[in-house]
């Protein structure tokens, strides 16, 4: 009897699934395949999603509209005009540096930035009429005012070069107290 019931259950199951796909099913699938054929070559599938996301974030961060202060290493070696004009000079050793357009994405006007300019910042001091050895560090406002548009190596202050003559002034009190002779 139990076997009979199992047969009845099987019959009921088969009757519930007793249907076939329509005659046009294959044609429908083929039409859908043609419409949604995968792209080849599929390079995108080879790039992990994380790398792609990181690249997008990096592009946004480095894009001109993503920053108000461009990292100095991106400005080194670029042509920068200074000073423009002298009236913009804010302090004794600062000048307004005009940052030129750097990418084709930046549709805004060149932006002005205040930076300390030293002789070491200038790519070719001699051409700009500056004696790198004797010029004050940083450059004075008067010097800046006379400069033509000048290429800079960097708009960051150059590292302080300590000479033997500077050492007494830099000596710490504890050194003097200990009788260190420089």
């Amino acid at each position: 009897m139990s076997a009979d019931l199992d047969r009845e259950i099987d019959r009921a199951v088969r009757s519930l699934l007793d249907a076939e796909p329509s005659e046009v099913f294959g044609a429908r699938v083929r039409a859908s395949m043609d419409a949604r054929r995968p792209h080849r070559p599929r390079m995108a599938s080879l790039i992990p999603a994380g790398v792609g996301a990181a690249a997008i974030v990096l592009a946004i961060v480095l894009a001109p509209w993503g920053t108000t202060e461009r990292p100095p290493h991106l400005l080194a070696g670029r042509d920068v005009q200074l000073p423009t004009p002298v009236a913009d000079v804010a302090g004794p050793h600062e000048a307004t540096v005009v940052q030129p357009r750097q990418t084709t994405f930046n549709r805004e006007a060149d932006r002005k930035r205040r930076r300390i300019v030293t002789a070491a910042s200038i790519a070719e001091p001699a051409a700009a009429g500056i004696d790198a050895l004797t010029a004050p560090k940083p450059l004075s406002v008067d010097t800046l005012a006379t400069l033509p548009p000048t290429p800079l190596t960097s708009i960051q202050p150059a590292p302080l070069r300590v000479t033997a003559l500077d050492l007494p002034a830099l000596a710490m009190p504890s050194d003097a107290a200990r009788g260190v002779d420089r």
């Binding site: 009845e8 699934l17 699938v29």
Partner: protein, 208 residues
């Protein structure tokens, strides 16, 4: 080294019956006809798996179509760790479950299945030499069984329908449902036990 579809296609056709693996490789190399052969080969199994989940032939056909198109688009991700049929059925089952989760569609399906159940007593009377009483009892039993199968808990019903269809091995069902093989066997056995018990309680069948 890329596979050359034309040569492989010729080689495949020379063979009497190219297996799924060969057709998949051809399809992965861009041979749409090879995938068409796979569609023809598995359309019934895919359709019935979808039907077991969604209950309506029209919806099952939609699900089967979606499953084939998805498989075609993701064919490059198929690594051959399982058989193509198992992989395809797993896609089909996920599509079918997504479809089943739609409340509106579920309501429509219930309405249709009830209408079908009500129409069955007359339609299902077979041309046999059994007595009229036997025929009516058998018809009533089948009608009640279909209703009880519909009323089974979803996990038991899905497994019973897939197993009872005769289209899939227990291993394939286990992969499709992402459950252990032992669980498949238990669910089928449990579904049958529940059906037996309910039929007995209604006096429609005596197992003793």
């Amino acid at each position: 080294m890329p596979v050359r579809p034309s040569n492989d296609r010729v080689n495949a056709l020379e063979a009497a019956e190219p297996d799924d693996g060969m057709l998949v490789r051809l399809a992965q190399a861009g041979d749409a006809r090879a995938f068409g052969d796979l569609v023809d080969r598995h359309r019934r199994a895919v359709f019935r798996a979808a039907l077991a989940a969604v209950g309506s032939p029209a919806e099952a056909e939609d699900v089967a179509q979606e499953a084939f198109v998805t498989a075609f688009q993701k064919l490059d991700t198929f690594r051959g760790e399982a058989s193509f049929k198992t992989w395809l059925l797993a896609i089909t089952w996920r599509k079918a479950i997504d479809r089943r989760k739609s409340v509106v569609r579920w309501m429509q399906r219930v309405a249709v299945s009830r209408a079908e159940d009500e129409a069955n007593p007359v339609d299902d009377v077979p041309e046999t030499r059994r007595s009229q009483e036997q025929t009516l009892m058998a018809t009533e039993l089948q009608r009640e069984l279909r209703r009880l199968i519909h009323a089974l808990p979803r996990k038991l019903r899905d497994t019973l329908l897939l197993a009872g269809s005769g289209e899939y091995s227990y291993d394939e069902i286990a992969s499709m449902l992402a459950i252990p093989l032992g669980t498949v066997k238990w669910r089928v056995s449990e579904a049958r036990r529940v059906l037996r018990m309910k039929l007995e309680s209604k006096g429609l069948f005596d197992v003793r």
